[in-house]
């Protein structure tokens, strides 16, 4: 008697026909398979807010990078007889008490904001991801100790320490940059900016380190990593081929959201008078200078204030869009 539960089926010749040659080709077309980066880019392109923000960011970069070159004045040039001018054709943003053109100063300020944002984000990315990756890969006691350190730095109210660290390293840095030949190229950057970078390197990497460690721990348990390991892949191969590319999305998303926060902090410090030093202009210090003359010359405050808000807004919105595009699972809307 035939067993009803049996899966055995009698196969006869002619039950299976050979499929036409181009059958699989059509199948491939239907699945619409694209790589990770291409898929992310497509998702990003579909997000109108993110694309508009990207456009604004590019426009701001052009404004800050090329603008000062095209302007006939320099940021610290005091034009005689042009003091306290309201916005006009020659000076679209007006001039300040000393007759300096505000548009050039805003351009330089935007340049500083963008530099601070991007360089700080890179510093945070490098320190944070290396630290997180080491911690996650090492595991065991090393991991525990490294993560306790992260917890500690994380709970520090950073703005207090930033103020103190900034004050402490400002003077020694200035001496270093001026007197040691090796650091001369940094002179242009100014010790104030370098101090801000160092502060960022000290305090802000912990968020990134946590995220990268979490990713590494999660990825290490994935079957394909075990499979690659079983097939004889060394740890270097695993890191390069499997861990790094899969972490990249989160790393970039976190890094992009770090940019506006860094810009925010620089503007805050400059506003309190402990950021970049005069005659250098920052959007924060320009606003704080304008505050005293707010009665007679409100335009002086208007442009730097609008500019800094626009920069932070554009980076925030673009960062949100990028995070959603790189990791649709993380999407919370």
């Amino acid at each position: 008697m035939k067993n009803v539960l049996s899966f055995q089926v009698k196969v006869e010749k002619g039950d299976f026909d050979k499929l036409p040659e181009d059958y699989y080709k059509d199948l491939d077309k239907d699945t619409d398979e694209v790589g990770f980066w291409k898929a992310s880019w497509q998702r990003l392109k579909a997000n109108r807010i993110a694309m508009v923000s990207l456009g604004i960011i590019i426009a701001l970069i052009i404004f800050a990078a090329i603008g000062p070159v095209l302007c006939p004045y320099s940021y610290d040039q005091q034009i005689r007889g042009a003091e306290n001018l309201w916005p006009c054709l020659a000076h679209p943003f007006g001039t300040d008490r000393l007759g300096r053109d505000l548009m050039v100063r805003c351009m330089i300020g935007a340049r500083i904001s963008l530099t601070v944002g991007i360089v700080s984000a890179l510093i945070v990315m490098i320190i944070g991801s290396v630290y997180g990756a080491i911690s996650g890969l090492a595991g065991g006691r090393t991991d525990t100790v490294m993560m306790r350190i992260v917890d500690m730095v994380y709970s520090v109210p950073e703005i207090l320490l930033i103020v103190v660290i900034k004050l402490v390293i400002d003077q020694p840095l200035q001496d270093l940059v001026e007197n040691v030949a090796f650091f001369h190229p940094l002179q242009k950057l100014g010790s104030g900016l370098i101090a801000i970078f160092i502060v960022y390197g000290c305090l802000y990497w912990v968020g990134m380190a946590r995220i990268v460690r979490g990713q590494v721990l999660q990825l290490r348990q994935m079957e394909y990593v075990t499979a690659a390991n079983a097939l004889g892949a060394g740890s270097r191969w695993l890191i390069r081929q499997h861990l790094l590319p899969n972490c990249m999305g989160q790393i970039i998303a976190t890094m992009m959201l770090q940019i506006p926060s860094a810009i925010f902090t620089e503007a805050f410090l400059s506003f309190l008078g402990i950021g970049v030093s005069a005659p250098m202009a920052s959007l924060g210090s320009l606003t704080s200078e304008a505050l005293s003359g707010i009665n007679k010359a409100p335009y002086r405050m208007l442009f730097p204030a609008v500019l800094i808000s626009l920069i932070i807004l554009a980076f925030n919105l673009f960062g949100d869009g990028l995070r959603d595009a790189l990791d649709p699972k993380m999407k919370k809307r």
Binding site: V156, I159, L161, P260, F271, S288, A290, A305, L313
Partner: protein
């Protein structure tokens, strides 16, 4: 001892360790600061030396550090060197913190009262008019630095409309500082609440409730809202920190005699003991708030581990 109690004790130890680290780091950084507090005085070398000896600044750093810690344990933070010469730091801080706290607490309450309900509304009406409005407002709100808010408010309400006084102390003088302090937290809370509501609305237990025939109102008010407010608790720690540091700007701009303005002034005057005092005090406050929030969060939602 239960696992949870163990975790909480570990968390408290970590907080204590962080606080100790902050005190230590700040103290040694302070020592590295260029110049000394008596630089600006029109004093001869001789009197300066006397002053330095009087305050024990000539002793080795490690001795000064030990002495500072010992005094701190007894609640003694020393006296101000520069800004209010000879006055006890504790008296200065109590006086000025009362001002900061009265503004800060009001800002905190307003931001919760405005931010959370608006976030709820946005989450419940996802994709519709109110949601769009809340999203735009909150995105713009978190992008505008506090000092810009302060400057714009000043321009509009005191310079143009002449409706509010520029400086603190006159009637209505606390309105603008409170708006400046509450702006960022309010907008952040809107986003947080909205995201949290959306996450809870997708959970299976709400489907179960509906399947059981509960009315939509009960589902939302009794089950969804309650659970979506839990993550908001964790933000209360950072919220306090944000309001305290926001005070640096708001108090400087509007001339509020609070602790934030003192901190900013103390920095430029190199008033070591005052800087130390404010740092230790603020750090303690923020770390304690974070600690309380974490523990509270764990008690309310036992699924969360403190790691």
């Amino acid at each position: 001892m239960s696992v949870r109690a163990g975790r909480i004790i570990k968390r408290i130890l970590l907080a204590a360790l962080s606080l100790f680290a902050i005190i230590t780091v700040t103290f040694f950084l302070m020592d590295l600061l260029p110049g000394d507090p008596f630089m600006s005085e029109k004093a001869t070398e001789e009197t300066r030396a006397i002053l330095i000896r009087k305050y024990g600044l000539d002793k080795p750093v490690i001795v000064q550090y030990g002495k500072y810690l010992w005094n701190l344990l007894h609640g003694d933070m020393g006296t101000s060197y520069v800004l209010q010469k000879g006055r006890d730091i504790r008296t200065i801080m109590t006086e000025s913190f009362a001002v900061s706290a009265s503004l800060g607490v009001r800002a905190l309450i307003y931001s919760i009262l405005i931010g959370v309900p608006l976030g709820c509304v946005a989450g419940l009406f996802k994709g519709k008019g109110p949601d769009g409005l809340v999203r735009v407002v909150s995105a713009v709100g978190i992008s505008i630095p506090g000092y810009v808010v302060a400057a714009v408010l000043m321009l509009v309400f005191s310079v143009k409309l002449k409706a509010l006084p520029v400086s603190y102390g006159r009637p209505g003088g606390s309105v603008m500082p409170i708006i400046v302090l509450a702006m960022y937290p309010t907008c952040y809370l809107m986003r947080l609440t909205r995201a949290s509501i959306l996450e809870v609305l997708g959970q299976d237990y709400l489907k179960t409730e509906r399947a059981k025939g509960m009315s939509e109102l009960i589902v939302i008010f009794k089950h969804a809202l309650k659970n979506s407010l839990i993550p908001v608790i964790t933000y209360l720690g950072p919220l306090t920190a944000s309001i305290l540091t926001g005070g640096f700007v708001a108090e400087s701009v509007f001339n509020v005699p609070g602790l934030g303005r003192y901190f900013v002034n103390a920095i430029s005057a190199r008033d070591y003991t005052l800087i130390m005092g404010v740092t230790v005090f603020y750090a303690t406050l923020i770390i304690t708030m974070n600690l309380v929030c974490d523990i509270l969060y764990q008690i309310v939602d036992p699924r969360i581990t403190l790691d």
